[in-house]
Structures are given as C-alpha cells and as structure tokens.
Symmetry: C2
Subunit: 242 residues, 2 copies
C-alpha cells in the first residue's frame, strides 16, 4: 500500500510525484488543498506534525520531507534505480539535493510567497487570517504568513533571493558543462529534486535563465520536460488558477 | 587512500571524525587551522570551492558536506553499518539529520559566531579583516564575518536562535521517549550527526538542557560521551584555547 498526500504538481509535491512516476509505481493520490489550508487540519497534522506536504505512507510507515521520501522510494523499490551506482556520484547527488533544499528552494520560495501566496493572505479578512494562523503548527510558517499578509518581505530580502536564484542556475550550468546530468552520467534524484524549482525560473525571471545566457541549463530543462514521467506528473490535478 | 581535511573535533568536523572512528577506518588527518583562515587558502579552495571543512578525499574522489560524507562512508565501507536496516528508520535518520543541518546547527552556529568567532574577528585590524574577507569564497560567509566584526547579530536574532535550540532539544527528548536512539532501535548517523551540536548545549545553555528538564536527552549525551569512538575523536588535535 502506497499513499501520497500532496498538492499541485509543483514545488516539493512535484518532487515526490515525479519520483513515483519515474519508477512506474502505483499509488493512491490524496490531494491536499493548500488554498483551503487542509495541510493545517487536525487530521493532516496527525500525519505530519509540521503540517507540510508531501507525505508518503507505505505499509503504515509515515515518511516526510520530499528529499527523504525520494531516497526512501529508491531504497524500497530499487527496480528502476534513481541513484548513481558510482558512490562518488551518489554523494554528488546528495550534495546537490542539499543545495536545492537549503539555498535554491528557499530563494525561489520567497518569491512564490511574495507573488502568489500573498494574494491568498490578502484576500482573507483579519478574522479569517487569525484563524488560519492559529492552526499553523510551525512558528516559522506562522511568521511567514504574518509577513506576507502585512508588508511582505523587504526589497533587500527579495533582491538577495533573486541573487541566490542566479547563483543556483549558474552553478547548474557549470555542472552540466562537466556531465550530462546533475550528478554525473546518469539521470538521478538530483535531476528529479531540481526539476520543479528550475522549471519556475525562466517563467518568473527570464533574464536569469534563457537559452542564450544559460544554454546547458535550458537544454536540460527541455530534456526534462520531454520525459514521459514529467508529463504524467504534470497531468495530475491542478486546482490553482493560472 | 582516505584523507580527511578537518578542524578541531567540534561541530561539522566532529561529525565526520566520529563516523570514521566508529567504523575503525584508517585515514590521514589533515588539520586545517580555521584561526589562520587556512580554509580560505588557494590550495584548500581548489579542493572545496566553498572553503569549508570537513572534506574527504577517497581514491581521488572529493566529497564535501559532513552529512553527505557520512552517508558516503557508510556506502563505501558498510562493514560497521551506521544506517538502520529498517528502511523507515533509515528515512527517520535522514529527516533528523536534515533537521540538524537546517535548523539546530544554524541556531547553535549563530551563538558560536557571536561568542567565539567574534573575538577572532575583533582581534584583527581593519586591514587584516579586509584581507580575510577578500578571500572568503561564499558571500553568505563573508556577510557573517562582516556582521560579527561589526555590531554582531541583533538581540532578537540571538533570542530566536536560542528558542530554536530549545525546540531542538525538546524534539530530541520526544524522540528518545519512543526509541533508544534518534532513528529507532539502532545507533546511527542520526546520533553521530547530532553529537557535537548537542554536546555544546548544556555547556552554553544549562537552562535549556540539564538532567532535570531533559532527562532522556541528557542520558543520551552521557551514553554518547562514554563511547570509545567519541573519546578517540575528542582526542584529536585541538589548538583552540578553552
């Protein structure tokens, strides 16, 4: 029994959806509506006390954190291997995934909150917002909601995040000058874990990532977009208006 | 051939030293003197462009990031296994190690910079400091040095980090109420990756971690301190004055 609790096929939900699709695993999809704050509901917080998607439930074991879920899937279902056989490349896969989690993703996420989640927060009455805040289990998440419902991040914070996005794509470009994929000669979780983040950059900041400035990263993204598993993951329900 | 470039047996250097000692692996130790800024030297930055310790070199492969180094060591030298055999516990090991890297360690690190590295920064002349800053490869590290050489972190930032340290130890206490070790029934990289961070807390903030308030975390630390591998790692060169 394999169950995935996830939101739209973007950001961290996409990471685990794509891993499942690449492995051709059958799973029960449980859509968690972030716009209705289902991730903070009593039932969901029982599953993941942090109130965050995605969550994998496998034969009763609850696995959180998309990066960890993907290594778990490769541990348990190794038939379609998604970690390099070469152990130094496997380490590179983990270094890159760590960089995505700690640097690239938070930088992109700040802009996502500023441009998109902010609209949701501002559509709520003061009363409604208070009710939402009350139910958020992590203080860091509560603070972020309070920030975007108010004045949002400062211009300096947003610029710094944009700089980090540039650094991230430049780093990708350098890696792809040495190897076909982000962790060496084989397609791996390093590629899967980056896909949904990288895909957002040319749409949000075409000046940072375009085929002239970043030819290798752009070609990598085209190759990723053409993968059947990516297409299958992207065709999952998406209730967010364009 | 196994070479470790590391500083004192504290913080991230300790993580990899302890893993090597637990596995009983012979390695060549290369001491990197952080007080002389050897981590920013031309030679070292060739090895790790981020200018950070520890770095493992194994048969020519360069592995960075202590958490990744430790999984690599367990991949390559599985004779003394340090990852749970149960794959859900192995995922828990990764979730906890990720929490240490992203939450616990940065919170503790801010206090380390404020209380210790700050003294180093302030002992430098303006000219010397500029020379140090010039050679630091990561902007984030340069900014941190500039911060502590100046007014340091704000009281609000320091308090927030202290709150995070409390949260971290409370979370440990909860885990240890359910299982003997931090990732289930076997000693693992989750314990190794936390040791040097946790060991600093009762010394720095006895009000946060003491045997009355946090009996299970305190007992865990006693058990860790008694391990021969911990003692062996702690006896590595330590040139920092008490």
């Amino acid at each position: 029994m394999l169950d995935l609790y996830h939101a739209e096929p973007v950001a961290n939900s996409m990471k685990s959806l794509l891993c499942l699709k690449e492995k051709g695993l059958r799973f029960t999809s449980h859509y968690v509506d972030l716009l209705r704050f289902e991730q903070h509901s009593e039932d969901f917080v029982k599953l993941n006390p942090n109130g965050q998607v995605p969550v994998l439930v496998h034969d009763g074991a609850v696995i959180t954190e998309s990066t960890v879920i993907n290594e778990y899937l490769d541990d348990v279902f190794p038939e379609v291997p998604l970690r390099p056989r070469n152990l130094a490349e496997r380490a590179q896969m983990r270094v890159w995934s760590k960089f995505v989690d700690e640097y690239f993703c938070p930088a992109l996420s700040m802009w996502g909150w500023h441009l998109m989640v902010r609209r949701v927060a501002q559509s709520l009455s003061k009363n409604e917002l208070e009710k939402v805040l009350e139910r958020i289990p992590l203080k860091e998440q509560r603070d972020k909601w309070a920030t975007i419902a108010g004045e949002s991040f400062t211009q300096a914070q947003l610029e710094e995040s944009k700089r980090k996005l540039s650094v991230s794509i430049e780093r990708m470009e350098k890696i792809l000058a040495r190897s076909e994929w982000l962790a060496g000669s084989s397609y791996s979780l390093a590629d899967i874990n980056s896909y949904s983040m990288v895909a957002a950059v040319p749409r949000m900041f075409p000046e940072i990532m375009n085929p002239q400035a970043m030819p290798l990263a752009s070609a990598w993204l085209d190759t990723m977009n053409a993968r059947p598993a990516v297409q299958a993951a992207l065709s999952m329900p998406n209730k967010v208006p364009e």
